[in-house]
């Protein structure tokens, strides 16, 4: 179903008629989104299903002979720690994706609450909140994470790393949500709801949130990207939980055991290829959604 782009009433644009809901999903399809979703689908499914068939826990060291070449038994060979590179990579993608999704859920919740309330309530409250938000955006994140990593290294679970990323990562999204809320505040249908006697909470939940949904989805995917990237970055410099296979820790071990000097390319190239593919998939999905929503709103 193609939505009439000249339709000026945002409410009807956001809430398509219910019976046609299945058919209406067709407007979403564009090449970018298709490629992105395919990559994500394959990698996501693979990383969830494959670990069930894993012959051994890849994070256990010395399961196999060290530095085996690629073979039938070990598709990508084994590394200098006696771990199967292929299975380590599969678990790494799963763990990284899980972390990304968990962080994205946390960040989206905080950012939506903060952003919506700031943009909608306005006044002194908004100025105070935005000051904090801008500060969090401006402060370079990595040094703070390095200190935290150095302080709690070893004594933390993998999920704590995610929690820390949530605490320091919500600001950018909150800023986006707030600027959307600002533009929404002036729209007719919001005034309409207010004159009909809806209170602030009702307006936020029933009128503003559905409108913001599309952006939230895009922001959600971008946050997954951000979180995976950040954890991997910390892992590469050895300040995350490096015993847990992630896209960063695999590179940490490879660099630590001088895979470059010893000519052990697969150990480095495999995670690089996997990371680039995954990130490209996530990025294409988010821009694809963006494009789809934009064309639906009649912007592009």
């Amino acid at each position: 179903m193609i939505v009439d782009t000249k339709d000026a009433d945002p409410v009807t644009m956001v809430v398509p008629p219910a019976p046609k809901a299945r058919a209406s999903l067709l407007w979403l399809v564009n090449p970018r989104l298709a490629v992105g979703l395919t990559i994500l689908g394959v990698m996501g499914l693979g990383s969830v299903v494959l670990p069930l068939f894993a012959p051994a826990d890849p994070s256990v060291q010395a399961s196999y002979m060290r530095n085996l070449p690629m073979s039938q038994a070990h598709w990508l060979g084994t590394n200098a720690l006696g771990q199967d590179i292929f299975w380590f990579l599969v678990f790494a993608i799963r763990n990284s994706l899980t972390l990304g999704v968990v962080v994205a859920i946390g960040v989206t919740i905080i950012a939506t609450i903060v952003g919506l309330s700031a943009g909608y309530i306005g006044g002194r409250f908004e100025r105070a909140v935005m000051l904090v938000v801008d500060t969090f955006i401006t402060i370079p994140l990595l040094p703070i994470l390095i200190i935290l990593g150095a302080l709690i290294r070893g004594n933390t679970s993998f999920l704590t790393v995610g929690f820390i990323i949530i605490v320091f990562g919500w600001a950018w999204d909150a800023r986006t949500v707030r600027s959307m809320a600002l533009s929404l505040r002036e729209r007719e249908f919001i005034n309409m709801a207010r004159f009909s006697g809806a209170n602030t909470l009702q307006i936020l939940v029933r009128e503003v949130f559905p409108y913001v949904m599309a952006y939230t989805l895009v922001g959600f995917i971008n946050t997954i990207l951000f979180a995976i990237n950040l954890e991997a970055t910390l892992a590469v410099i050895g300040l995350s939980k490096v015993e847990v296979p992630t896209l960063g820790s695999i590179i940490f071990w490879a660099l630590n055991y001088n895979a470059l000097f010893t000519g052990h390319h697969v150990w480095l190239v495999a995670p690089i290829v996997a990371t680039v593919t995954l990130f490209l998939g996530l990025f294409l999905t988010s821009t694809g959604f963006n494009q789809a929503f934009a064309s639906k709103r009649g912007v592009a």
């Binding site: 000051l131 904090v132 801008d134 500060t135 955006i137 401006t138 402060i139 370079p140 994140l141 990595l142 040094p143 703070i144 390095i146 200190i147 935290l148 990593g149 150095a150 302080l151 709690i152 004594n155 990207l225 990237n229 991997a232 970055t233 590469v236 410099i237 050895g238 300040l239 960063g248 590179i251 660099l255 470059l260 000097f261 390319h265 480095l268 190239v269 690089i272 990371t275 680039v276 990130f279 490209l280 996530l282 990025f283 294409l284 821009t287």
Partner: protein, 333 residues
């Protein structure tokens, strides 16, 4: 009047950022369950084979707490900390290189980081914006989408992947650059400067490539939107050439949000620079941080992070203060 309000607001944000940043740095280690003094005493104990007496340890602890500003209640520690950092830029001595002052170590590393970071960011920003402008202005041509494709490919790749890939490609597969760079110290001679330049090329290239993709994509989006503006159509009808329209009409207007975006993303850019230094063993703040983090040298860590916050906030302030020169709307409001 408009400029004054603008500057005042911006200065307000600057001090707020500094204040909140310094407060976070102050509170973080104190909220943690780990006490660096305990760790240090443990280290000394290990070296002395546990021969230290209880009194000696108590004295040592008192000395260390005095030295590292851990005396008194939280509030007086805080006031003390702010005074030391703001007035004297004093972070105490380094644990690892004991009598060496942290501030000296950091100030020695700062020019390295700034040199690499500023050059790379400027190049990435200018190049990215130019490519993005062309891609956006000619967005109806097929060739322009190739340019955008470069951006799409480059943007989502994380810094560390770029760094490792470049290292793999340009130092291992095609040995153009050294695998582990050397940076000479001491008196600068032309040869040494050449060597530094050569060794900095690879980390610099990583930073440029990393910043490049994002700039292409955002500039392209802005340029597409600006090209549709009525004043650009008017310029075309007036008979202005493609070049004039692209540079004087589209570029100047699309540039403004890019300047703001640069100021906002400085923190990210700085993160990338730190990481690049760590991976390429480039002797800047990032490398100091890494060594300090692995060695548990907390004074150095706090010094480096404080300096990072100050540096990023100040750079953001400078960019935002230049902004009115570019945007007449703020000057004439």
């Amino acid at each position: 009047m408009g400029v004054l309000t603008y500057v005042a607001k911006r200065l307000g944000l600057y001090f707020a950022v500094l204040f909140i940043g310094l407060t976070i740095t102050f509170l973080l280690p104190r909220l943690m369950p780990i006490n660096p003094v305990d760790g240090y005493i443990g280290q000394l104990q290990g070296r002395a084979n546990g021969m230290l007496s209880v009194e000696a340890i108590a004295e040592l602890r008192a000395n260390l707490e005095e030295l590292y500003g851990l005396k008194g209640d939280l509030f007086s520690q805080y006031v003390n900390y702010l005074r030391r950092v703001i007035l004297h830029f004093d972070f105490g001595p380094s644990f690892t290189y004991f009598p060496q002052q942290v501030s000296v170590m950091i100030l020695n590393a700062l020019p390295w980081t700034l040199g690499l970071l500023l050059t790379a960011t400027m190049i990435a920003w200018l190049l990215g914006n130019m490519v993005g402008l062309v891609a956006g202005y000619f967005h109806k041509h097929k060739a322009a989408s190739v340019l955008e494709f470069v951006g799409i490919l480059l943007y989502p790749i994380p810094y560390y992947i770029l760094a490792v890939t470049l290292l793999l490609l340009l130092a291992y597969v095609f040995p153009v650059f050294p695998l582990s760079p050397t940076f000479p110290v001491g008196q600068m001679t032309p040869e040494k400067i050449g060597m530094i330049f050569y060794n900095s090329l690879l980390p610099g290239l990583t930073l440029v490539l990393a910043g490049f993709g994002w700039n292409i994509l955002s500039m392209k989006a802005l340029a597409v939107a600006t090209t549709e503006e009525p004043y650009v159509t008017y310029a075309r009808l007036k008979g202005a050439s493609n070049w004039t329209r692209m540079t004087r009409y589209v570029f100047r207007n699309a540039l403004l949000p890019q300047v703001t975006a640069l100021a906002l993303s400085l923190g990210m850019v700085f993160n990338g620079a730190l990481l690049t230094e760590m991976i390429f063993s480039y002797p800047g703040i990032g490398l100091i941080m890494r060594t300090a983090a692995t060695g548990g040298d907390y004074n150095v860590l706090y010094g480096a992070i404080t300096l990072s916050i100050i540096a990023v906030a100040t750079a953001g302030l400078v960019i935002d203060l230049i902004y009115p020169l570019l945007d007449p709307r703020i000057r004439h409001k």
